[in-house]
Subunit: 366 residues, 2 copies
């Protein structure tokens, strides 16, 4: 009977501790009061990232709020053109508009930017980095690095070890994305909708604005981000375009359907993949279980498979339901789950920062 | 601007009203107190099925309960070998064990059986009928007819019009199955789990037994029915095997992943399908909108696509998110939603009975 889950430690550079002892960094967190910003603060502490200053930046609305970060009570400052002075690094998690307005401003002041928005991901000048897959890409940065879309990061954590072993040819994915993917307001919306049903005093509560176009409690919404002319949502296209860039497979065929589900945290993806070489489950299992940041959690008849309730606030992604695909030649089907606020955003951004330190390329001078 | 949804009336035999005026039928409902049984009673009334006697059968536990059915207050009787005497027809919805025990008993007494369980679906002697697709198959019955699995019925409602137009070659499906697919206890389990969170007196409530192997509130469980050696669940194999039989495509390649989601009612399926002929969206749209029992609900950028909240207690299935598949040659991707208690069970069973009447083959003498 195999031991489960077979879990490799999430990616961490080997000599990061040593590097940490040599220098500490001034780090800006743009969007510090948002769902991802809060996770960045907590993960910087958890991973003992060498911080000499944590500068919390947000909109003017949050300016002045005090938040505990990296051992100190920090006052939130407004994100302005002057806010990046003397920073070594800034992690942006305030959406594309803020990134487009301020990333280049920060970069020109010598502050390296790791951006969680979609603003720069497909820019050929900007490395798009999932450190377990392409940490070497950080070396080519010109002051801005991009963090992948959450579902893309989690899907590729499961796909990449199989690609290395069998050679990826075609991907079909259907996502089950949690409400916190839309930020903290997503969780509030689901809670409000459910509490109206269970609370007797429901009618007295003010209606809160939901980030979703329809009710999400007891529902499914196959609509994340805007739609394109061809019927795909931009979210669905991210999986195709970002996978091609990260895996350096510019013609990879990817079809994706993105669906919002009434789950608070952690995204799940049902993946069917075709490979160039013949596949088998034992080799696939080995490839996955040896890979950093993956837990193979796959004894389905004992009820063991990854589920979102088990993957909130977890660094690793879980892979299960691994089997030979019945419809695709050289195909494998699997189910992958990961915390989209961590591996899909905050954790991955910090791992990019760690890779920059390890590879001695955190500084950038134009 | 097209009118949406473009909706054809759900399948109903053309002269059923005339037939109804000629004769009424004695009908047994096995599992009358269950989730599907209750829907059968309500749909027999809604569709004005010509009932002269509605005989409600269930386990000894429910025996003696009084339930209103087809205009009368009927006493529930225990399902025994003698319970089928003088019935024209019995619809079984009590699971495979009861069907295996009593279907042949009923049949031998001249009572035609329409079975909702999986017991006889793959029996070559038993027609497996989705009336919109293969109503002619009812004519070959030998006393037992089978109703397809719920996800299979809903998926094929979307797939069959496209198959007729383009010729189906390969199907990849991921399901989002509601809790009532596990019966009334599925809804109770979800409600109990949620109410514990919202109710202050939660600890005083007795823990109810859940039909699910893990918590379902805020969660996803990629586990429906038992698992086979090869890692597929039996539920996943039903989509392959039953689609092959209903479509008469014995080598159709089908890969399916079945997932339980915290939705009360209506199943949703993300489908990627490959066809033999070149596809295009306008022709696919026409094929779907002309098909009985389908609503084409497909203006995604206006927020129009089928969702489970809109498809509970609806006879039609909804298709949306129709687009050319990016990964499969001659491929189409779409999203289909249907009430699994109606089109996936009770409604389809009654439609089979209507087809038997129309084709004058409700009687069977061995």
């Amino acid at each position: 009977m195999p031991q489960f889950p077979r879990c490799s430690a999430p990616y961490r550079t080997q000599n990061i501790k040593l590097l940490h002892s040599l220098k500490k960094y001034r780090i800006g967190i743009v969007g510090a009061t948002g769902a991802v910003g809060q996770e960045i603060i907590s993960l910087l502490e958890k991973r003992e990232f060498p911080v000499s200053e944590a500068r919390l930046l947000a909109s003017s609305r949050s300016s002045g709020r005090e938040i505990k970060a990296c051992g100190n009570l920090e006052k939130v400052r407004e994100t302005t053109r002057d806010a990046f002075k003397d920073l070594d690094l800034a992690i942006f998690s305030s959406g594309s508009k803020i990134s487009l307005e301020f990333a280049d401003v920060a970069r020109k002041q010598g502050c390296v930017v790791i951006d969680n928005s979609s603003a720069f991901r497909m820019d050929p000048q900007v490395p798009l980095v999932l450190p377990e897959v392409n940490s070497d890409a950080v070396e080519a940065h010109k002051g801005i690095l991009a963090n992948p879309n959450c579902s893309t990061a989690i899907t590729l954590m499961g796909l990449y070890p199989l690609h290395k072993r069998f050679g990826l040819k075609r991907v079909i994915a259907s996502t089950y994305q949690s409400v916190s993917g839309a930020g903290a307001s997503g969780i509030t919306a689901l809670q409000n909708e459910l509490s109206k049903e269970f609370s007797e005093s429901s009618n007295e509560q003010p209606t809160q604005e939901s980030p979703f176009p329809h009710p999400i409690a007891y529902n499914l919404i196959p609509h994340i981000d805007d739609f394109r002319e061809d019927g795909y949502s931009k979210e669905e296209m991210k999986l195709r375009n970002e996978s091609r860039k990260i895996l350096n497979l510019p013609k990879l065929q990817v079809s994706c359907t993105c669906v919002r589900v009434p789950v608070n945290r952690a995204h799940s993806i049902s993946v069917n993949a075709e490979f160039n070489s013949p596949v088998n489950v034992p080799d696939a299992r080995n490839a996955l279980s040896e890979f950093p940041g993956i837990e193979l959690w796959d004894i389905p008849n004992a009820g063991r498979y990854p589920m979102p309730l088990d993957y909130a606030e977890k660094e690793a992604c879980g892979v299960g339901r691994l089997r030979v695909d019945h419809a695709l030649p050289n195909g494998l089907a699997f189910w992958v789950v990961g915390d989209q606020l961590w591996k899909g955003a905050a954790l991955n951004a910090i791992q990019i920062a760690e890779a920059l330190i390890e590879r001695k390329c955190l500084r950038f001078i134009e």
